[in-house]
């Protein structure tokens, strides 16, 4: 009796094993930790349950730079994953690695899976498309910079919480009032370069670099020392000197200082909303980024941050079919809506945005659609559809170092930005030479 049941169990195991072997495994390296990781695992799990031929195996590989480094090492050793999540600043690095990646458009075409790049928000697809219109990577998680205010602090300072500053001029006036009401930390920011250089440029339709912000070729040069850029950074330096701008660091450290109620205003990722919601005592609102109203065409539209999925080269055709199936699954509006509402990332296709709107989600969560509205405020121009600079991990670091020198009062905005352009261009030239162009 016992033996018999054992035999049945064994047979079942053997069957399951055979079943598992018939499945083609698709390895997916990503950088979504914590709650985001759970959402991602749920996506993969649902895909695996929806069909029998393929199994997507998500593997958390640490932060964005860490997983990119790991994938580079794995590629050199000949065992890269099938799918790799790469943050937006790594886009140029991936693009230049022609032999290491397969363009998403090609993967979808070869597998005859439906794929329409036009379904995506123009600011999203533009970021990951080459000049010929081929989509190179699959947009996955996108966010943008938003401006948040603490409504209680506004009330305390005698400001109308329903009228947050819309221009940088209003912003300065509000900052003065908050300061004199005894607010210790008036304003802080997360992601200084992404916010105050990259998105600032797009929002004011200013060029970040020549050749359409680098999208037109690797022989691009930074142009972030224009009078407008200098004016903005000098303004921030002035605020820092007067104690109205508290610098928090190069990544998302500003989020926590706003969430705890310490700072009254912050510029942070759209994804930070999840953190702010966790503090029930915090009465906050999400708003468009402030702009300079004397700049023609401003506000334009903001640009994305976040990551996209790259398909690595050197795999079997059968495996690429699985990748294409998985991407087709991810493209469904329902799946996108679940990811958008579950994580706080923006809906990246127009259809999923519509679907979410119709579901009444935005009525229940006022302001949750502000990031999409800001991203699509106007049709993107050559200056505002994104950027693509080689070795921008280093380039952004250089910009941030120079900004820190201004905020610490050690140098003036003009010389800091001139220096950032000079050092940044050296990095671009080195990348150009290394890519063999």
């Amino acid at each position: 009796m016992q033996l018999k049941s054992l035999a049945i169990v064994l047979a079942a195991c053997a069957l399951a094993a055979a079943n598992a072997q018939a499945q083609t495994e698709i390895v997916w390296w990503h950088s979504m930790g914590g709650a985001l990781g759970e959402q991602l695992n749920a996506l993969a799990g649902k895909f695996n349950d929806s069909q029998k031929d393929y199994k997507v195996v998500p593997v958390f590989k640490g932060s964005y730079p860490e997983s990119l480094t790991a994938a580079i090492a794995a590629f050199r050793a000949g065992n890269a994953p099938h799918i790799l999540q790469v943050f937006e600043v790594g886009t140029a690095t991936m693009m230049a690695a022609k032999g290491a990646i397969v363009p998403v458009a090609k993967v979808m075409n070869d597998a005859k899976e439906p794929f329409d790049p036009k379904a995506y928000l123009p600011t999203v697809s533009g970021y990951y498309t080459d000049l010929k219109g081929n989509m190179l990577s699959f947009p996955f998680n996108s966010s943008t910079v938003m401006f948040y205010v603490n409504r209680d602090a506004f009330r305390k300072a005698g400001l109308d919480p329903d009228k947050p500053p819309r221009t940088w001029k209003d912003f300065q006036a509000a900052a003065e009032k908050l300061k004199s009401s005894g607010q210790q930390c008036v304003y802080t920011t997360s992601w200084p370069s992404w916010t105050h250089i990259e998105n600032f440029s797009a929002w004011h339709n200013l060029q970040i670099g020549t050749k359409q912000n680098g999208m037109g070729g690797f022989d691009t040069q930074f142009t972030i020392n224009s009078p407008m850029h200098v004016r903005h950074i000098a303004m921030l330096g002035e605020l820092a000197k007067k104690g109205m701008f508290t610098y928090a660091g190069r990544t998302n450290q500003g989020d926590g200082r706003f969430a705890s109620g310490e700072c009254a205003m912050v510029t942070a990722s759209a994804g930070a909303q999840a953190t702010f919601r966790k503090n029930p005592k915090l009465d906050w609102s999400i708003n468009f980024l402030p702009y300079y109203d004397d700049v023609k065409g401003a506000p334009q539209n903001s640009i994305i941050g976040g990551a996209s999925l790259w398909v690595m080269a050197g795999k079997k055709p059968q495996e690429y079919k699985g990748v294409a199936k998985f991407f087709a699954y991810l493209s469904q509006p329902e799946v996108q809506m679940a990811w958008h509402t579950g994580t706080g990332y923006v809906p990246i296709t127009l259809a999923s945005y519509e679907l979410t709107r119709k579901s009444g989600y935005y009525d229940k969560n006022p302001g949750a659609d502000m990031p999409v509205k800001q991203l699509t405020y106007k049709l993107p121009t050559a200056n505002s559809k994104g950027l693509r600079f080689g070795n921008f991990v280093q380039g952004r670091e250089v910009i941030e170092e120079e900004l820190e020198a201004v905020f610490a009062g050690r140098t003036d905005a003009k010389s800091a930005l001139d220096e950032a352009v000079k050092r940044g261009n050296e990095i671009l030239r080195k990348f150009e030479a290394a890519a063999g162009h």
Binding site: I72, A100, T246, E400, A408, K430
Partner: protein
Amino acid sequence: MEKRVVFRSAWLPYALLAPQIAVTLVFFFWPAAQAIWFSFQLQDAFGLNTQFVGLRNFEALFADPHYLASFRTTAVFSFLVAFFGIAISLALAAMADRVVRGALAYRTLLIWPYAVAPAVAGVLWAFIFAPSIGIVSYVLRRHGIDWNWILRGDQAMLLIVIASVWKQISYNFLFFLAGLQSIPRSLVEAAAIDGAGPARRFWTIVFPLLSPTTFFLLVVNIVYAFFDTFGVIDATTQGGPAQDTQVLVYKVYYDGVKAADLGGSSAQSVILMCIVIVLTALQFRFVERRVQY
């Protein structure tokens, strides 16, 4: 006279040495040779495109004022870490040497920090000094001191020096304590009989006799500050603000691992390798000859 053991067999000594030599070759010489080879190359991140560029990586480094500034930062940092690490542990050892009761507990507690990983030490101190939530920052702010090492370079430097020194004190302490205990009591007692006070006894007798230990620790501490403080820096300032705590070894890591610039990073490690060779030669020449264990 030294006792010498002579192997009769021709191959046995080599066979016995082989594992160690293999480990050294694979884990030290092979990567070092690769670093030298890469330092003459320009490569894209994925290694798809490689060009031989001769000394261009080195030229670019020495033309970069920020790389030269990194040398200065490293020098300042190493000096501070070595000086305070040695001074504080010498003071502690001199005192521990005189403790009669509970000496074991006291010493164990002093040696404890050595068991803490550098990254953990960094996080620990970063918490204590965190600009908005740190307990020390809170006290400093109440005394009107604007504490924000995320923006102020001097404060960031102070933070990593404190964390690195704290971590290294135990090691130095052990050596000093051993050194102190090997000093003959009779010398100190004779001086005491001659009427020399404790301070004078320390400076004229104990300290000179400790000098081989001190010199050895100086070299070890400088090497430590150069290389082993990586964890502390990565867990706290990450080289910032601006580049005020960007020491050489951190820049190697940053350029190579995060920025995927293998050529530039390898050139920097080759330069670092030269510095270590010089330091090691110094140690062998001046220290090994004089230290008596």
